[in-house]
């Protein structure tokens, strides 16, 4: 078993630190057990299990540091890995951006570990595949899906007295359902810390329904449309937008957050005032690690409040350069939603397009955060408050900044890839061409 308790991890880390002869030493210990099953063409294709454990030692002399890693933890191995990191540090060039390891920190509690998820076995995974494949086959649909579950821990300690420990579990599932006539495709995705919240049959039914409803899509002209974006459609664009919430690149003048004539957009309103975005490691629906790889404590942090940029992430080095407090990057993202269900949003739409997900998203222009990509697995035309018919997929060229300035309405939040994102309705979303892809 590669998962150590807090006490076991602490003892092992302390023992490893006792071998250190460097000015400073910081050690991270990770372990995880993960399993997966993959299926396609209504049959299982591959399945696997992986057990992993690693200790990573960073030793430093002055501003010179070296890292060595090892996956065996007997005394001789611990001595060897600490010694190797010290040899590497002695040979390394000075890093002018080197930061001393942190001293003891206080961390919030976060419920990222659920025993039931850690106990998932191969039979459970096979049942998930079966819960997809059987209902698909019964409806003349072909299932392809992937389930991955993991349980693990991370711990760190250093010669300045810091100790941090966190255990977490995770289950992530995606399934694509394609109608056997080749004209319809549906998809759904679920992820949780707690497997008890996961229902493979429910998730599969959503995708099967989309596959059937999306058959024989009609082409409509590309152009600017009001769109209802399911959380799976907007989440990647929003995550990409947050890559710009970095103080250093903004200060350096090479970011969307850089301002004309110098300075940054911190404190400026950049999107609609209904947009509020924050991170919170303790949120019960999206719990995440309360500390990061440098041992910095993560806490609730506002990034966008009423459309105004409230914070940019500062690394410890950049914070020191600028004389401010460091702001660690977030481990989750939560966007305020509303009470409206998807059905309510559709009901209030005169003419628009419902988008299940966006795919193959790539940066076109980092200056304006312009991205391109395509709709996929269920795109529908809405007229007078009702879904009228499926439409062919579109390529879009759009910036999340423009998108959030064109906000019409927010709906309920849904967990997607560890974040909490609402359904949203946006006007004038730019579709630039049609795709024949199903």
């Amino acid at each position: 078993m590669a998962i150590y308790s807090k006490e076991e991890a602490k003892q092992l880390l302390e023992k490893a630190l006792s071998f250190s002869k460097a000015d400073a030493c910081e050690i991270t210990l990770n372990g995880s057990e993960s399993g997966n099953i993959r299926y396609a063409r209504n049959s299982v294709s591959t399945a696997g299990h992986r057990s992993n454990q690693t200790m990573s030692v960073q030793s430093s002399f002055g501003k010179k540091s070296g890292v060595a890693t090892i996956d065996e933890f007997d005394d001789a191995s611990l001595q060897k890995v600490v010694g190797r990191s010290e040899e590497l540090a002695q040979l390394a060039p000075e890093n002018p951006e080197f930061m001393e390891p942190l001293g003891p920190q206080e961390y919030l509690d976060s419920k990222t570990y659920v025993e039931a998820t850690a106990k998932i076995n191969p039979e459970y995974r096979a049942r998930v595949a079966s819960d997809s494949i059987k209902p698909a086959a019964a409806k003349d649909v072909t299932a392809a899906g992937f389930l991955n579950d993991s349980a693990g821990f991370t711990a760190m300690a250093n010669t300045n007295g810091l100790f941090a420990y966190n255990q977490s579990t995770d289950i992530s599932f995606t399934v694509t359902m394609r109608s056997n006539d080749g004209t319809g495709s549906g998809w759904s995705s679920r992820d949780f810390n707690d497997v008890n919240k996961f229902d493979a049959a429910e998730a599969s039914a959503v995708a099967i329904d989309k596959a059937i409803q999306s058959r024989n899509a009609k082409a409509i002209e590309p152009g600017k449309y009001t769109v209802i974006l399911e959380p799976a459609a907007s989440s990647q664009l929003l995550q990409n937008m947050f890559s710009a919430f970095n103080a250093r690149t903004a200060d350096e003048g090479r970011s969307f957050m850089s301002k004309e004539g110098g300075g940054t957009k911190l404190g400026e309103k950049i999107v609609d005032e209904r947009v509020n975005f924050w991170s919170d490691p303790q949120h019960p629906d999206v719990p995440s690690a309360p500390w990061n790889g440098e041992g910095q404590a993560r806490k609730k942090m506002n990034w966008l409040e009423n459309g105004v940029v409230k914070n940019l992430a500062y690394s410890r080095y950049w914070a020191k350069e600028k004389g401010v407090e460091p702001v660690p990057t977030p481990s989750n993202g939560i966007m305020t939603g509303g009470d409206a269900s998807l059905e309510d949003l559709i009901k209030d739409t005169k003419r628009g397009v419902l988008v299940t997900r966006l795919w193959y998203i790539r940066t076109v222009d980092p200056q304006t955060l312009l991205y391109t990509g395509l709709t996929r697995d269920g795109t529908f035309y809405i007229e007078n408050g009702k879904i009228k018919h499926p439409v062919k997929n579109f390529r879009f060229n759009e910036s999340p900044i423009i998108m959030l300035n064109n906000l019409e309405a927010l709906g309920k939040q849904v967990r997607i890839n560890g974040n909490l994102i609402p359904y949203m309705k946006v006007r004038d979303f730019t579709f630039t061409s049609l795709s024949d892809a199903v």
């Binding site: 063409r41 399945a47 002018p96 090479r254 304006t368 395509l374 892809a437």
Partner: protein
């Protein structure tokens, strides 16, 4: 670690290359890269333990891959070395067929006991999954090879070159970029050595030593008064070569029609970084493209990515059949189109060839990861779709008897599956230079280097950017352009191909970290071509005011 975390760790930030999520292996001192590793007799002994154990548990087939994967990565920024990483990963992966079903397990405990246990685990997985398997595995026959070996032909093993020499080279490229107007520069050097031993119950024992290298950088120029910035990435190609790729031989330079040098099998990083700084500054003032139809003249280091996305991926048989439906997607190039023998993938001058044999390419090996000798084969001949990319358990689905030899796994602890071989466009048969090509274009754009790329899940609709763009007007190269991207449909695009330069212009593009599968695996692949002309392609303007 998430992909973004790693990019941060490497300090590359804005305009940098995207990196895979994991640095596979344990960090080791540099001299440990030169240690010999397990000797070949011991590898054979361990592989036989796996094969014999598998057979004793009723496997109808088994293979074992003992791999030692050595990586060295060097990262710099302006005048600083940010990070030097040396990693080693060693272990064995065992794949079996039991009850007609694949099973796979791996371990880093390469002892008789460890190998036996992993083999038993692979058998157990195969037997468990056999219960819900509806398509029993059928393997194409393969020749028993006995004991054979293969090595990447190279002049300089990166492991023998001091790290300081590599760091100094990157720092001098950075310095030259800064002197020539860059505000920021990040550079990196990726070097990989795969020492792979393969054995199977078909009677093959294959020892291979594979090398790859990729130097790259991103240069950024800033205009603070306007709040604008532009980045120019390296015009290098990752190669299946040794450190000699960094020699910068003038004999391997090719002059572009815009007057600067491009590189064949030897890269001058200082020259390219110097040019990059000048071009990044020029981009700040370059005019924005007028959208519309243009004849595109695409340089090999740009066209390679278009080939990769619009030919390489859609002709992977597993995609065509639906095995990748939940991730990368399926393909427009369906079996009925192939069976018709008249599906016009491109114009009749378009010949697209797959291979795992081109010297200096990323895909070149002697044998694939299931013991099949590598070869070259046609995908598109005279514009017609004629074949796919398929491995031993797939070729029967397209009524063929012989695997194409393009099975690959990124490491000993991942299962091997069908991966893209090199896919290249054959050069034009008649003598035709890039200068002549430009002279023949009335209204066009010359594009060099890779840029933004996006394509749908069946590979119909794509949009590509590039590294640098130049206007072509009445047979002459004009000024640099900004905000260029072209949108097309794969079949329409390849049918608009009207001219291909001759073999003297042939160069390779490469993708060092190509992703596929769930859980995802990376692989490296090259795409060769000569500069090629496509008529009347739709160009959009990607500029926005926010």
């Amino acid at each position: 670690m998430k992909r973004r975390d790693f990019v941060q760790l490497a300090g590359l930030g804005a305009g940098a290359v995207m990196l895979p999520g994991q640095l596979t292996g344990n960090a080791i001192p540099v001299e440990a890269l030169l240690a010999p590793g397990m000797d070949i007799a011991a590898k054979k002994r361990m592989a036989d333990v796996a094969l014999n154990t598998a057979k004793s548990f009723g496997a109808s087939y088994a293979d074992a891959r003992i791999g030692r994967y050595l990586n060295q990565y060097v990262f710099t920024r302006e005048d600083k070395v940010q990070n030097v990483t040396n990693t080693e990963s060693f272990g064995i992966g065992i794949r079996v067929i039991a009850n007609g079903t694949w099973g796979f397990a791996s371990t880093n405990n390469v002892t008789e006991d460890g190998v036996k246990k992993a083999t038993e685990q692979a058998i157990a997985i195969a037997k468990a999954n056999a219960k819900i398997q509806s398509e029993p595995v059928k393997l194409a026959p393969v020749k028993s090879l006995g004991e054979v070996s293969w090595k990447t032909p190279l002049q300089k093993d990166f492991k023998e070159i001091p790290v300081s020499e590599k760091a100094d080279l990157l720092l001098s490229a950075n310095a030259s970029a800064m002197e020539n107007g860059a505000n920021f520069v990040n550079s990196a050097l990726f070097m990989v050595n795969e020492q792979k031993y393969f054995a199977s119950t078909e009677g093959s024992y294959i020892d291979q030593d594979v090398h790859r290298i990729w130097p790259t950088f991103g240069v950024t120029a800033i205009d603070r008064s306007q709040g604008k910035f532009k980045s120019r990435q390296a015009l290098s190609a990752p190669m299946g070569m040794g450190y000699e790729y960094m020699d910068g031989l003038s004999s391997e330079k090719v002059e572009s029609p815009a007057g600067f040098n491009l590189f064949r099998k030897s890269y001058d990083i200082v020259e390219d970084a110097t040019l990059a700084a000048k071009q990044a500054k020029e981009m700040l003032e370059a005019k924005s493209v007028e959208p519309g139809k243009y004849d595109l003249v695409l340089e090999p280091n740009h066209l390679g990515l278009t080939i990769h996305e619009s030919v390489g991926h859609p002709l992977e048989l597993d995609r065509v059949l639906g095995y990748e439906a939940n991730y990368a997607g399926t393909s427009f190039a369906t079996l009925d189109k192939w069976k018709s023998k008249n599906f016009q993938y491109g114009s009749d001058i378009v010949n697209l060839v797959a291979d795992k044999t081109q010297e200096g390419s990323l895909g070149a090996v002697g044998y694939d990861d299931e013991g099949v000798a590598c070869k070259e084969w046609d995908l598109v001949r005279n514009g017609i779709l004629v074949n796919y990319q398929a491995i031993r358990d797939q070729v029967h689905m397209i009524d063929q008897q012989e695997s194409h030899g393009c099975c690959y796994s990124q490491s000993w602890n991942d299962v091997q599956f069908q991966r893209m071989p090199n896919v290249s466009l054959e050069p034009g048969k008649e003598p035709y230079s890039i200068k002549e090509m430009i002279k023949d274009v009335e209204k066009g754009i010359y594009i060099a280097g890779r840029g933004s790329y996006s394509i749908d899940q069946q590979r119909y609709n794509f949009q590509f950017g590039g590294t640098v763009f130049y206007e072509i007007k009445n047979g002459e190269i004009g000024p640099m352009l900004n905000d260029v991207a072209y949108q097309s449909n794969t079949q329409e695009f390849w049918n608009s191909c009207t001219k291909i330069c001759d073999a003297s212009d042939y160069r390779m593009f490469g993708s060092f970290f190509d992703g596929k599968g769930q859980p995802p695996q990376i692989s490296a692949v090259s795409h060769g071509s000569s500069t090629t002309r496509f008529n009347g392609v739709n160009v959009i303007n990607t500029g926005r005011n926010i």
